[in-house]
Symmetry: C2
Subunit: 334 residues, 2 copies
Amino acid sequence: MIETPYLLFLGDAPDALAAKVAQGIKDWRPDNCVGQFRMDGCKANLGLTDMTLAEAKAAGAKTLVIGVANRGGMISQAWKKVLVEALEEGFDIASGLHNLLRNEPDLKAVAEATGRTLHDVRIPTVQYPIANGEKRTGKRCLAVGTDCSVGKMYTALAMDKEMKERGLKSSFRATGQTGILITGEGVPLDAVIADFMAGSVEYLTPDNDADHWDMIEGQGSLFHASYSGVTMALVHGGQPDALVLCHEPTREHMRGLPSYKLPTLEALRDVALTLAHVVNAGCTVIGISVNTQHLSDDEANAYLAEVEERMGLPAVDPFRLGAGRLVDALVALG
Amino acid sequence: MIETPYLLFLGDAPDALAAKVAQGIKDWRPDNCVGQFRMDGCKANLGLTDMTLAEAKAAGAKTLVIGVANRGGMISQAWKKVLVEALEEGFDIASGLHNLLRNEPDLKAVAEATGRTLHDVRIPTVQYPIANGEKRTGKRCLAVGTDCSVGKMYTALAMDKEMKERGLKSSFRATGQTGILITGEGVPLDAVIADFMAGSVEYLTPDNDADHWDMIEGQGSLFHASYSGVTMALVHGGQPDALVLCHEPTREHMRGLPSYKLPTLEALRDVALTLAHVVNAGCTVIGISVNTQHLSDDEANAYLAEVEERMGLPAVDPFRLGAGRLVDALVALG
């Protein structure tokens, strides 16, 4: 559990895209962000108040979150200087970088000396159980994709936001580093030991109120040869009552696999439902979330209408149109 | 890679079942076994020559393999005495125990002082790649089960043996600790980090001669809520040309999951083939391996005949009947 609120560290981001983790936190949990910290030459700007470490501390910030990708897989000396000062000012530091904070001897030493915590959210800190498959109370919705990186996290976050705006009970359940930094907790599923994957998802989505929904962040794809085992653990550990199919219609091949075509939405529906029924006989597909960022408005509308007609399910782009119709379909499950 | 041949350590096994790992090595790789080492009170006997450490060393043994389960999850002082002497005599030690040899400070110190190797085969020693899904040369057969522990390893080993007896090219590819101890190498798949599971299976079953078959040891089941992600990685990393369906017909529920019934062989066939076709469009189910240990001869024969008729595929118990008909079906694929 990462202490909030955050000061978002944008470092020397060469462009806005490099700071997309920080952007995600600001977009989805604005109340968790007291300000941004930018170094000389930073080209990203979230529109938050620029603060020094001391100013952020005075404003109540508890954790400095590294919201920017680093260059060349190194934590630079320029970054280090800020991170050391932050620890000395009393901040914890949270990071989803591949190279771990804890593997930097100077940061580790200062954190120990100051009693602060280094959160490397890519690494599990919990000894997860083996999954037991037992029926849990409460309800769960899982986003599954025709491919990796088609909008599963965005879809789950948008549905969670809509649920909360309607006064309904909902929790976004993070399974990747960006999601964990956004919510301050979760399971870094791709780094869990094989035998404990499904158990970690059960741990993440425990018994809850009968009318509470977990919106589980998906990972990978059942059709992605590299990561399908991770997705399988989400389906069987997550015990979903509802699935949302996620798709990006302009993708020419599976991400990172040039010789693999994407499956059809029908193929995804059939495989995902068959597998979900192993753990939850009542699971249904409630809608389709399409990432239309590479389509014009007209193209997007035409594509969504065609999919909706063909699949007999609400088809929306939650970024353009909001997640209202997906939440309507969840609520209609009762 | 564990150096062969082995001296099989049976310790103070309370019964034959406690030494089943040693029994497996002796059954499947008798040429790797120069003898057995039994302590006072040992109730297991593989029928190998009892040897002292010095006798085994003189007979050429390179590695002492712990072929017996330990009691209470502890490596006892009585065992330790033998293990330390073995290191001092020049043996490596290999173990599939949950508690690791390397976590015993005295064993670790002696191994370092003598330059010997402690092989804890439950723990990966390789940094496996992310799977790339690219088509590999050679052929692969994967055993998939309706449940865990239904005879997948036995089936793959029996088919490998039959292939070799016919002078055909075959390798048993171990994915669990017993299999790794039997062959001296493999991937401890259940201990691999999630993102690298499928890649570890690709690593295990690399390019090979066009007429060479890998017989891949299965793990878990696509229908087992706790471990299905591991099985999925085998299907997508293994890129199988052939599947063998494995089943135990008297099982009343999924192993460890009292509220889960086993799937039908038809359900397993359909799901496993659909998933295998993602990575290998030509994959087919070539036969069914039934563990009939809890059936009489008459019951077994009747059951196998019924399954063979119903599924339209050879159905055998390789323990009772050998794997000849399964290998016939493989060979018939050309």
